[in-house]
Subunit: 232 residues, 2 copies
DNA sequence: CCAAAAGTGTTCAGCTTACACCCATGA
DNA sequence: TCATGGGTGTAAGCTGAACACTTTTGG
């Protein structure tokens, strides 16, 4: 494509991804050791430079695919970072994205070939540049989303039990919820489908599996519905 | 600054600003007729290219200052747009910002020397590129913000009456609110300071002026408070 | 039969909503 | 004195929050 704006300065543009995962107990993020200078060897978000013929979203998808082999993940743009001195290797505009990886896939990835490592959200090491800021913002965004959208389901396997879902919400918000109120609230939403099968791994009695019914959810959204778990 | 990333592609980066204003009756946005090709003469958001030694925020501030002569405006980053074909003049990554201009200043600007023109939010003309999408997103963001932050005050003069504030909220949300409940809710927040002076312009009885008390507001924020006007 | 997690209902408080009349003033 | 917008209070319904015991089953 010819570019009529050639007299203006050009900039390197990158994407950085905050990858949230859930191992069934704790909320985690996936970090890598940076493989090139500057700051080589330090912990970093997964990132990469934008290429000619790809959109920002494409770039984020590509970067995620290169690291994890996964596509079709939940992917949401977080914020664009553009401070002049934010990257000590040169001027780079970075657009941060966040994504969610569910437990099953998560376990397959526990040791990724690219040196990715999962870190508990409470034990995030010092990160290069402004990546720490990005993580903080991503966590806030995740909490906001989980309040009003069924985003939490992205972090769970297709079939999950109510206690598992409760546990996930407790991990995301780092607090406890009353299980009776939680169950009541989530079930009144009418977006969960109870299966006949039980999970017998976590208790003697067993807990019924549920799955998320996207059709019902979309129906609610169309009718101007707000999905509001929480408060209690 | 030397740049160790030189082997990667560079891109033009721009900022575009959605400028909301309030004339005392309607919610408006400020648009300009584009002064260069392509799409010269069409309605457009105010924008400009990012320069070497400025951050994205700096660029947005500069663009706003160049158009309006104003600085220290409320300014919030909205979203980064990066589709390959979004700009027919060449590949440009655009970071959108939105800002709010209060009535008094607004009136001084009704006819800006740069050909800016205020458009009622209900009568936004076709805009170039993806600017229409940006406006839609900005309006959603404004509505979200106005719910939980005292952002609406940015659109009013320093002294304002409760009926004026009500009117503004009705303009933002494009619906009516019950004036008794609105007054009750806003006053229980304890962030408004009643003045002894009355506005006699809009009624015979006159309406008391209030002003926003930022100290009280900050105090509430620190204590984990959520500013929630609305619902009714 | 016991340990351990799953599952279930009710009550109270506070907030949201709906709603109608009097007040002050300038013309 | 009257027209106009400003200002006020209350009752009903709903939602959120707190809270304790029974059920199931494998070991």
């Amino acid at each position: 494509m010819k570019n009529g704006y050639a007299r203006h300065t050009s900039f390197h543009v990158a994407v950085d991804c905050i990858i949230f995962g859930y191992d069934g107990i704790h909320l985690k993020i996936l970090l890598v050791k940076r493989s090139f200078e500057p700051e080589k060897g330090k912990w970093s978000l997964v990132g990469g430079f934008l290429k000619d013929e790809e959109s920002l979203d494409d770039a984020a998808e590509r970067v995620l695919f290169e690291l994890t082999g996964l596509s079709d993940l939940y992917l949401e743009q977080l914020y664009a970072y553009g401070d002049v001195q934010r990257d000590s290797g040169g001027r780079v505009i970075s657009v941060a994205y966040f994504t969610l990886i569910n437990t099953e896939v998560f376990n397959g990835l526990s040791s990724t070939k690219y040196g990715g490592k999962w870190h508990d959200i409470h034990e995030v090491p010092d990160l290069i540049f402004d990546h720490g800021t990005m993580v903080t913002k991503a966590l806030r965004r995740l909490r906001r989303r989980a309040k009003t959208q069924p985003i939490g389901f992205e972090l769970l396997p297709e079939k999950f039990t109510i206690p598992q879902l409760l546990n996930l919400y407790e991990a995301i918000y780092d607090r406890e919820f009353d299980k009776r109120n939680f169950r009541k609230k989530i079930l009144t939403l009418n977006v969960l489908e109870k299966l006949t099968e039980k999970d017998m791994k976590n208790s003697r009695k067993g807990a019924f599996y549920y799955k998320f019914n996207l059709d019902k959810y979309n129906q609610l959204i169309i009718n101007g519905f707000v999905f509001d778990i929480l408060s209690n």
